[in-house]
Amino acid sequence: MLYREAGDFKTNYVADSQTFPIKFDRYGYYFLLGFAFLVMPLIINDYWANSIVVPFLIYTIAALGLNILIGYCGQLSLGTGAFMAVGAYASYKLMTAFPELNIVFVVVFAGIVTAAVGVLFGLPSLRIKGFYLAVATLAAQFFLIWLFTRQPWFYNYSPTGMISAPQRELFGVAVTGPRASAVAMYMFCLCFLVSLAWLARNLTRGTLGRQWMAIRDMDIAAEIIGVNPLMAKLTAFAVSSFFVGIAGALLFTVYLGAAEAGEAFGIDKSFLVLFMVIIGGLGSIFGAFAGAAFLIIGPVLLKLLLVNTLGWPTDLAAHLEIMIIGALILGFLILEPHGIAALWRTIKEKLRLWPFPY
């Protein structure tokens, strides 16, 4: 009763092919957008922005990107951390080389640079498959991080090896650098997230997305029915890396402010984003949001519970936290291997009948 597709008639093609064809979904989406753009800026404070909301927005972008690669195109990648580093270092080089360049263009160009690097490291996927490919993408992870920590050109010969984001303004409001306010950071990231999520949703519904899914389901069969595997795989790598690169650029410029490649973009970041995609649900845009929310909010809650409420020492709490996260991941995989998105689908099935079970 609450959720239903029936009775939602369309009288023209535009209405039928809109992004959210079901009315309930559409209104829910408008409501969320309204809440995110109108209400959140009023109630957000520094603590919430820094510990939950901004990382959530940024990691959702990364999870969207990785979901395109793994969930839609079926190419397992463990190099996400390094691609985020490419985005971060590209934005740093652009910001320092062209101080006049608008920060929006900096972030977008950083994404484009990452897309190019992603295509380069995606080339082996034409010959290598499955876990062999996953390990091959680790080559990207270790090589790129080595490049950014050992070759001084990338960090402008700074003596510490760190890169730090100078202040940049958008419409007269600082969005990067130490003086950026929580609201500015939030709105900046939110705009990127909303436009990229819209892009991802529509790409995956279109020709390109269907080609990716054909490759994922069975690449040889897809090739026989006329999908070009070269184009499909490389576009997936390009689009995915574009998203991940933007996430990296935002993480560095807006959220961290200063970063060192090995520390901020190590292999644990690759796994973190991978977990988000798996826990959220492979091949689902909603899943990327849900997975990121779960893995950003979970540790914060655990820390609040263990350190602030129970008063345990922080190192013990940190170890327990790793353990509990591991157990949660295992529990999730056992109970619902297809992630939170599958859970949501089940809920929708139930809501369709509720409150009358027949």
Partner: protein
């Protein structure tokens, strides 16, 4: 002989011994992949966990002492006795077997017939769980592990090479021992899988799960068996690496060293793991030796992966892996 050549030769020898250490870790991966088709990312953490447990038993630490202290406000830390190594190693083996049984009962059993990527993610979850568990149980500080293996420069090799070339090679005695132990391990694994009933069952499962089930082999028992063996291999690797560089979190990162070895040799081949290890060990030492002046140091972080990638482009299933046959 010229000096450069001698240095290169020494680097090669060091690479060979380092390669054996990589192969030790890779062996555990291959065992589990063959028997259950699971790419076990937790192998490195299992090595760390085994080494931590061994040190804990040796020094008589109270397990979970931090946690107990935090909850009850006590000040527990040690039992006050030291277990001799001959007792501590079997005790650790028992812990690893118990761990294998728990993993089978609470994780693998529920994930039968899932896609490989889900199983792979489960092992990453397991890696986190074990890493946290090891830290909570035994504490996270760096510990020295000493099981009585010799360390330091090998005098015999030094003297011999000095007599031959007029230049003594530096080779760690520990790594010579590791090579010997790895050889014994591989030999005993081969004997086990060729000549014992359980070993044959293991190979049958590796070959075809359903056919093995239909002739009455218990899949669950075989899984426990494989994970136990992998746990013991992890213990050996943990002892070797722990003696070399102390027992600490970075020990679990040796899994990342073993992955290129694995794809180079092929996921399903035990000789592949050994030969892959040797190729990577020698390759990265020589590359570092010749390229350090040109592009800077610390190349061993990525060189192994690049080498494996280049090999893969020519043989997508690794050097010794089973040929991948694809049908629509």
């Amino acid at each position: 002989m010229s000096d450069t050549l001698l240095f290169a030769l020494e680097a090669t020898l060091n690479g060979l011994t380092a390669g054996v250490m990589y192969a030790l870790v890779a062996l555990g991966f291959v065992l589990i992949f063959k028997a259950s088709g699971i790419f076990n990312f937790a192998q490195g953490v299992m090595a760390l966990f085994a080494a931590l447990t061994l040190v804990g038993f040796q020094s008589g630490q109270v397990p979970f002492s931090h946690l107990i202290n935090a909850i009850f406000g006590t000040k527990l830390h040690h039992f006050g006795w030291n277990m001799p190594t001959v007792l501590a190693i079997p005790a650790t083996v028992l812990v690893m077997i118990a761990l294998a049984i728990l993993i089978e009962r609470y994780i693998l059993k529920h994930l039968v017939n899932q896609e490989p990527i889900i199983l792979f993610m489960a092992t990453i979850g397991l890696a986190y769980l074990l890493e946290g568990l090891g830290d909570v149980m035994w504490g996270a500080e760096v510990k020295a592990l000493d099981v009585g293996l010799p360390k330091g420069m090998s005098g015999a090799v030094d003297d011999m090479t000095f007599a031959w070339f007029g230049y003594g090679f530096y080779i760690d005695r520990l790594e010579l021992w590791a090579a010997g132990i790895a050889a014994v391990l591989v030999a005993s694994l081969t004997v086990f899988s060729q000549y014992t009933k359980q070993g044959r069952a293991l190979r049958a499962v590796a070959d075809d799960h359903q056919a093995a089930l239909s002739v009455g082999i218990s899949l669950r028992f075989i899984w426990v068996l494989t994970w136990s063996i992998a746990g013991i291999v992890a213990l050996v690797a943990g002892i070797m690496w722990g003696s070399k560089s102390g027992v600490q979190f970075s020990l679990s990162l040796i899994a990342l060293k073993a992955l290129p070895v694995l794809i180079l040799g092929g996921f399903t081949s035990i000789p592949g793991a050994i030969i892959g290890g040797l190729i990577i060990g020698v390759g990265e030492k020589l590359f570092d030796f010749f390229m350090q002046p040109v592009i800077g140091g610390a190349t061993e972080n990525w060189f192994a992966y690049m080498l494996a990638l280049v090999f893969l482009l020519f043989r997508p299933q690794g050097l010794f892996g089973e040929k991948i046959i694809e049908r629509v």
